[in-house]
């Protein structure tokens, strides 16, 4: 998603956020989001296009806006089922053939060139090359001047062509795949590309869907089809899709199935679909659960029949195939400023040259006609005297200016952009290959999705972390329950006698849940005893609710033992899974779920319940409910949801004690860091049910505002509940999280946790992740109005100031932030943030947050997460990083300077939006402290070095121009000028940019404070730039003037001295790099010495071409001792100042990095053992 869609979220948000409840929406998406229903729909109950749930605001708000839009005729596409001819006669629907290739053979050249010239660098190249083609301006040979541009263009074009060829090839394979399509009442094999909208397609198990189809019928009698959407959103769990009851019964080959589908125009929303289908005069509504998208695979279903509605490039998957948003790194932004300086410098040089040239021309204007080396007059034309190649004074100046731009063009280091890209690719290669950032449990490597912000990783000051799935594993485990006011939390371990867990026998086959859950023996006993006692009946209802009130689909899997089958629960919410597994362990095993009923094995006795209605979870209600018809014809509603929302619909008059004790239990659960859900139920009278049923029917077939209608219906029935109890689910902390957070904080990175969870849960996770400590003073802001917000913020600021000044440290001191004696933690909830964000209170919140060493925001909506990130981003120059795993983190990830996605349980939306993706939170430590530090240091050095490298060469050319009547003659041959940045000096800097390490991984992890170097911008800043430029000036002067003075009034010819300058500059520049290389491995040696040797070879080759002026010059000059003496003198004299300054700095103003390097060098033997242990504790533990 790009920034545009972020903005649309905002607009939707603001449109809806008039009430505080509304703007709080999906606050609970983490806490109780697990009991969400996403794409589940029941055919006979109509469909609900709104997809609520844990995937948060991104898609949520989008689908709200979608559902509120009625399908107008002009916005709709009409699909005649099984009548492709009629379907396609009026509208030009695209066929199913896809074309991901960008070019055809004919369009390749123009289009590719057009795209390449979108880069400013290439346009600069082109302008220079074109200028050089003008005869007056031809500084370089024409061929030579085009060479660099042509080379870059060619390389890119070949790369593009190859990639396009591969795309074409895969398109061809894709287009020629076969699918069975109903033609003349028979299913026939047809190539994918031939499929048309309106055709009926039959897909068999494990086949890929060729286009977006609306399900008509499946092999399952209830019309369920399971699909795997891994190609679409990366989620590997099976999703259920439903065929409509009306079409289910028809057999396409026999019954002439006709009908009309009216659906929305193709769009990118893969979670939204809205349509109506008219079959047999009936109007049915279709939602996202009735459509299977191209790219999905059919699983666990023998076959499915559907009608194609979107084909080819109009399918949702094709519309979604775009890359991640691109960000620009901070260093590059700073660099652009320096590039402007360099441009100004270039202009200054050119102005100097042209002004001097003007003065010279003016002064010699009387001599020019016959001056042997100017000869303005041309006598060769018959007696006529005319000016030769002279266009007047003004134009000559102008030409001189342009020519000097051409000669000094590499002052703007265009090659730097190319080098930077190569370096980043190299850095990304090493980050991806880092074994310490490989997550074994999810089998995922580190991913670099954005290639242009590697170096930002070394400058992060703020980390905004999601909690669930990021700090915690998002693997839920049922821990304890409070039923009817009694706390059952004795399940400490799986006891011996029930090691095998609960199982049921069906047809002499054993059915066993896939996952075992710790059970409380007392509760287990109660559950087994059945409903005899009052206690027992409450327990019975409680577990029945757990087993029934969800959207879990049981899947039975064979094992090696033919008599044992495992039952696995597929669902999208891990909380629900945990609850259903728990219910199964206590003897309430969900066996079967179809659209109309569920089968639950209760203590070995199979019972069938009719599912009369189901209200999906949504973030307004923060609860879901199911209406069950019992075998004894009674009807009950079971509701589960977040405590706040549940207690508001509980009948307070009943069982006050139970409510009170349950509340107490809830508090204690959440302070243990457990996620809590409250479960309630109510008997429905027949009249109540009838009333609800008719309302529900109306709402679910409504075409306008169906979502809000359904919500209203649900709210009406979900009231006066009798509370059954509450469950506590443990959300396990991910491995290494406390250590990682500690490392990050030692490194001077502020870690803010933004979570949708409850305050108590958030605080308890804060303690267990060592974010909060007992020493800290907590400032908690829970306000319900703007005024109280203002007041608590002001109080907070005063308090935090007091506390931090008492302890005597300010929190701005780089690496030691939060090191005060009384650190302050700010805990703020989403409701308060509603009043603060986007108002004048933002500023005070920022101040307060800056004084605090920890900030914990709980119950925040996805957009508030982004709001908090932008709050910090707007007010500081510090870099921000957001890390998260779910769709609700997408906006935050995109807002932050660096977005990191965790490829974990919650699908891949966060990963898709992120710049970097990895498997575990703790990889943030090696990513930032090690790779970030390296990347930043390397890139910073490389940029400075590239500026220096090009400027020194330009200045040498410039000095010479001063001795040639300012006519831009170059002693250095054209070829060397061009090869200078391509061959002579490019490889070492790229290699050093990829490989050089200032410090070893071990030291960087041992002293996280070393990360401060990047935060303080130690490797690239203005001061360094100017120092480098002064050094450049000196070095170029030495390089130029030593030979000049040594060869003054000698017989030296231009080519020879040019060769001397070429070699001197190249050796100097490479030795300069060599002096700064911190780790010499064989590759560095090869690159640096190889470049120098390559330069010698190139110069020799150039001077062996008899048609060039400088023929044999290098051999003549190399024979003389003076040449070698000059070379040595240049190199030593040029490098001495830099060396002295470097030594003085390192010895007397040592940076932390420098000291750490020395420690590394001199103390490795003594300390290696200790470090090893420390490293293991932080890093090496993941092996499981």
């Amino acid at each position: 998603m790009d920034s545009e869609s972020v903005e649309t979220f905002y607009s939707v948000e603001s449109a809806l956020s008039s009430s505080s409840i509304r703007s709080n929406f999906s606050i609970q998406s983490k806490a109780s989001g697990r009991n969400s229903i996403r794409e589940v729909n029941f055919g006979d109950l109509g469909s609900k296009p709104v997809r609520y749930g844990s995937h948060g605001a991104g898609s949520e708000t989008y689908s709200i806006s979608m559902s509120q839009r009625e399908i107008n005729d002009e916005d709709a596409r009409l699909v005649h089922i099984n009548d492709p001819v009629q379907t396609n006669e009026r509208f030009e629907f695209s066929g199913n053939s896809i074309r991901t290739g960008k070019y055809s053979i004919l369009t390749f050249l123009p289009r590719n060139l057009f795209e390449q010239f979108h880069r400013v660098a290439y346009i600069y190249f082109l302008v220079i090359a074109v200028l050089n083609q003008l005869p007056q301006l031809a500084v370089f040979g024409r061929g030579v001047s085009i060479l660099p541009l042509a080379f870059v263009l060619l390389v890119t074009a070949v790369k593009d062509a190859y990639e396009d060829y591969r795309r074409h090839r895969s398109d061809r394979i894709e287009n020629n795949r076969l699918a069975s399509v109903l033609v003349n009442d028979q299913f026939q094999q047809k190539k994918w590309k031939k499929i048309e909208v309106g055709e009926i397609i039959k897909i068999y198990a494990n086949e890929t869907i060729p286009c977006d189809i609306v399900l008509l019928s499946t092999s399952d009698p209830t019309g369920v089809a399971y699909v795997q959407t891994i190609n679409l959103d990366g989620e590997s769990n099976l999703k259920t899709r439903y065929a409509k009851q009306e079409t289910l019964i028809k057999i396409p080959e026999k019954d002439n199935l006709t009908g009309l589908i009216k659906c929305e125009k193709p769009n990118r929303n893969i979670y939204g679909f809205q349509a109506n289908m008219e079959v047999d005069g009936k109007r049915l509504s279709l939602g996202p659960s009735n459509i299977i998208l191209r790219g999905c695979e059919l699983k666990n279903t023998a076959w499915a029949v559907g009608v194609a509605v979107y084909a080819g490039r109009e399918t949702k998957v094709m519309l979604n195939s775009s890359g991640a948003p691109s960000k620009r790194s901070r260093l590059e932004t700073h660099m652009n400023l320096e590039i402007i300086f360099l441009s100004l410098f270039l202009i200054a040089l050119c102005t100097v040259v042209s002004v001097c040239a003007a003065v010279w021309l003016r002064r010699h204007r009387d001599e020019l006609d016959y001056l042997p080396f100017y000869r303005r007059k041309n006598f060769s034309e018959d007696g006529e005297e005319e000016n030769y190649n002279y266009s007047g004074w003004g134009l000559e100046i102008c030409f001189t200016f342009l020519m000097s731009v051409i000669v000094f063009q590499i002052m703007i280091p265009i090659s730097l952009y190319i080098s930077m890209e190569l370096v980043r690719v190299g850095q990304a290669y090493f980050m991806i290959r880092d074994t310490q950032m490989y997550d074994e449990s999810s089998n995922s490597r580190f991913q670099c999705r954005a290639l242009n912000i590697n170096e930002d990783l070394g400058q992060i000051k703020y980390v905004f972390s999601d909690k669930t799935g990021t700090l915690t594993e998002n693997k839920m485990e049922f821990q304890c329950a409070s039923i009817w006011g009694v706390d059952y939390s004795g399940g400490k371990a799986i006891s011996q006698d029930q090691k095998d867990g609960y199982f049921v026998k069906v047809d002499r086959k054993v059915l066993r849940p896939k996952m075992k859950v710790k059970t409380d023996p007392e509760l287990l006993q109660l559950a087994r005893n059945g409903k005899e006692t009052e206690e027992g009946s409450h327990v019975h209802d409680f577990f029945l609710a757990l087993a029934a009130c969800n959207t879990i689909v049981p899947l039975i899997v064979d094992t090696d033992d033919p008599f044992v089958k495992l039952i696995g629960y597929q669902g999208e919410s891990p909380d629900e899974q945990a609850l259903v597994y728990a219910a199964a362990s206590y003897g309430f095993m969900l066996i079967e779920r179809t659209s109309g009923h569920i089968m639950i094995d209760i203590q070995g006795e199979r019972q069938r319940f009719n599912v009369l209605g189901l209200h999906e979870f949504d973030s307004d209600r923060k609860r879901m409910s199911v209406i069950l018809g019992f075998p004894d014809k009674s009807v009950k509603i079971f509701v589960k949801g977040a405590d706040t929302s549940m207690f508001s619909v509980v009948d307070r008059s009943m069982n006050k004690n139970v409510i009170r004790t349950t509340e107490a239990h809830l508090y204690s659960y959440s302070s243990l860091g457990l996620r809590t859900l409250v479960i309630g139920m109510r008997d429905l009278s027949t009249s109540e049910f009838e009333e609800w049923h008719s309302a529900f029917e109306v709402a679910s077939t409504a075409l306008m505002g169906r979502a809000s209608l359904l919500r209203k219906v649900a709210s009406n029935i979900e009231n006066n509940l009798c509370i059954l109890g509450a469950s506590g689910i443990e959300d396990k902390l991910q491995q290494g999280v406390p250590e990682a957070i500690e490392s990050l904080r030692t490194a001077g990175i502020k870690v803010w946790v933004l979570t949708g969870d409850k305050q108590e849960t958030a605080i308890s996770i804060g303690y267990s992740s060592k974010l909060l400590t007992n020493k800290m003073t907590q400032i908690i802001i829970n306000s319900r109005s703007k005024e109280s917000c203002r007041k608590s913020l002001e109080d907070g600021i005063i308090m935090s100031k007091k506390l931090t000044t008492i302890s005597g440290t300010t929190n701005y001191t780089g690496g030691t932030s939060g090191a005060g004696l009384t650190p302050v933690a700010l805990i703020i909830d989403g409701t308060s943030l509603v009043y603060i964000l986007d108002s004048e209170l933002e500023e005070s919140l920022f101040q307060l947050a800056c004084n605090c060493s920890v900030v914990l925001c709980c119950r925040v909506a996805p957009l508030q997460k982004a709001g908090i990130v932008s709050l910090v981003k707007k007010r500081t120059a510090d870099m921000t990083l957001a890390i998260g795993d779910g769709a609700n983190d997408v906006s935050m990830i995109q807002m932050a300077d660096v977005g990191v996605g965790i490829s974990g349980q919650e699908g891949r939306q966060a990963v898709m939006a992120s710049d970097f993706a990895m498997g575990q939170f703790r990889f943030l430590v090696p990513l930032l402290l090690v790779h970030g530090h390296w990347n930043y240091q390397r890139m910073g050095y490389m940029v400075l070095y590239n500026f220096y490298r090009n400027a020194v060469f330009v200045l040498v050319l410039f000095w010479y121009v001063l001795f040639t009547c300012f006519t831009l003659t170059t002693a250095i041959t054209d070829w060397s000028s061009v090869l200078y940045s391509i061959v002579y000096t490019s490889l070492p800097t790229i290699l050093v940019g990829i490989l050089d390490k200032d410090l070893s991984r071990r030291s960087l992890l041992k002293y996280p404070q070393l990360y401060g170097a990047g935060q303080r911008q130690e490797c690239y800043n203005k001061k360094l730039f100017w120092i480098t430029m002064i050094d450049t000036f000196w070095q170029s002067a030495v390089t130029f003037f030593i030979p000049l003075l040594a060869y003054w009034s000698s017989t030296i010819d231009a080519s020879s001295i040019g060769d001397l300058w070429t070699l001197a500059v190249v050796i100097l520049v490479n030795l300069h790099l060599a002096m700064d290389v911190m780790r010499w491995n064989w590759l560095t040696h090869a690159a640096i010495w190889g470049s120098i040797i390559a330069t010698f070879i190139c110069v020799i080759v150039i001077d062996s071409l008899p048609f060039l002026v400088g023929y044999w010059a290098i051999f003549e000059i190399m024979k003389t001792g003076l040449f070698w003496l000059c070379l040595l003198a240049i190199i030593v004299a040029a490098l001495i100042p830099r060396f002295v300054v470097k030594v003085l700095y390192q010895l007397y103003v040592p940076s932390d990095v420098q000291i750490a390097r020395e420690i590394e060098k001199f103390q490795t033997q003594t300390e290696s053992g200790a470090v090893e242990i420390e490293m293991n504790s932080i890093l090496d533990t993941p092996r499981r």
Binding site: G323, P372, F373, T435, C448, L451, S1050, A1054, N1081, I1155
Partner: protein, 354 residues
């Protein structure tokens, strides 16, 4: 600027990655010292010892080198005689241009050069021009190296304007460089005895063998409206016109010498050499100076003290720096790799946050 490229490539990378994952079961990166960036490497740290040693070595190497260069330069005996002014007869001294442009004036001129020291053979004869921009862009480009090389390229004169062709056809050798060929001549005599000037092998062998063709003969040279300098013997191929070759190796700097010839005998000290100069070349129009130079040679080339002095200065500076760093090290040593110098250990109130 490179947003497009980067995103597409990253997207592609992601795609191929996911494909790879389905093929392989474990995507764990293979361990190698290269991929983990742990190649064996040398980590130089600038210890005081290393720094002092570096400066000492440079100093120790540079000062002798400087002394050797200086002495080599000292051993070169050089006679420089500026003659452009003195060789103009007094009656023309106000209008030197007229003198030089007039074909009928007597251009010969006698100069007496005392030999300060014994000049061992070979003694090189140079002419030196000052303020003459042989590196001027218009001038440098106004030549045709192809034409010089082979007969067939006689018409390759596109770069040679305004000296490209006459009515009779292309000029060989064309261009301003050849056109402005130096044409002063020198005759030497010692004690009224002519000294033989050896004008062979004054050009580079490579020029004779490859750059200037042995089948290319001067044609239409200096026949145009304006005579720039020397004429060439049109019966000799260019490969034997060594003066031209020397001249066409355009000088790098505005003050330059060109080899005129060699004297293959010793010139004894305190003798006076008489030089008869044909002062033909016009440098008066732009105030250029002409000098005649007789010089012996050494391994360092001609007489030039600059490099020797530079070496001694650099060497001296390095020795000074070596001493400076020794003193610094003695007075204010800093133990290398002492963790207490780390910034977070220095601040008293600092310490590890918990």
């Amino acid at each position: 600027m490179d947003a497009n490229g980067a995103t597409t490539s990253s997207a592609d990378g992601g795609g191929s990655n996911s494909k790879a994952s389905s093929k392989k079961n474990s995507r764990k990166p293979k361990y190698s010292r290269f991929t983990q960036q742990e190649l064996p490497a040398c980590k130089p740290v600038l210890t005081p010892g290393l720094v002092i040693a570096t400066f000492t070595i440079i100093g120790v190497v540079f000062i002798p080198l400087g002394l050797v260069s200086l002495s080599a330069s000292e051993h070169v005996v050089e006679i420089v005689d500026r003659y452009d002014d003195s060789c103009v007869p007094p009656n023309y001294s106000n209008d030197k241009l007229k003198f030089i442009q007039n074909a009928d004036t007597n251009k010969s001129c006698i100069r007496i050069l005392p030999v300060p020291k014994l000049m061992k053979k070979p003694v090189y004869i140079y002419y030196q021009l000052d303020n003459y921009y042989q590196n001027h862009r218009r001038y440098v480009k106004s030549r045709s190296d192809k034409q010089l090389r082979s007969k067939s390229a006689a018409n390759d004169i596109s770069d040679c304007t305004p000296e490209d062709k006459t009515k009779d056809g292309p000029i060989v050798p064309c261009g301003l460089v050849a056109w402005s060929l130096f044409n002063d001549t020198y005759g030497f005599s010692l004690d009224s005895k002519m000294i033989q000037v050896n004008k062979h092998n004054i050009a580079w062998k490579s020029d004779k063998d490859h750059k200037f063709g042995d089948d290319v003969y001067p044609k239409n040279f200096q026949t145009g409206g304006l005579i720039g300098g020397a004429k060439l013997n049109s019966s000799l191929p260019l490969s034997e016109q060594e003066d031209l070759m020397v001249w066409m190796r355009t000088a790098a700097l505005p003050t330059f010498r060109k080899l005129y010839g060699k004297i293959d005998e010793d010139l004894p000290a305190n003798k006076k050499i008489q030089v008869e100069i044909q002062n033909n070349y016009n440098t008066y129009s732009f105030g250029g100076k002409k000098k005649l130079v007789l010089s012996t040679t050494s391994w360092i080339g001609g007489k030039n003290d600059f490099l020797g002095i530079a070496y001694i200065i650099v060497g001296g500076l390095c020795l000074f720096l070596a001493v400076f760093f020794i003193l610094l090290y003695v007075i204010k040593p800093r133990p290398l790799g002492d963790p207490s110098y780390l910034s977070w250990n220095r601040t008293p109130s600092g310490g590890q946050p918990n």
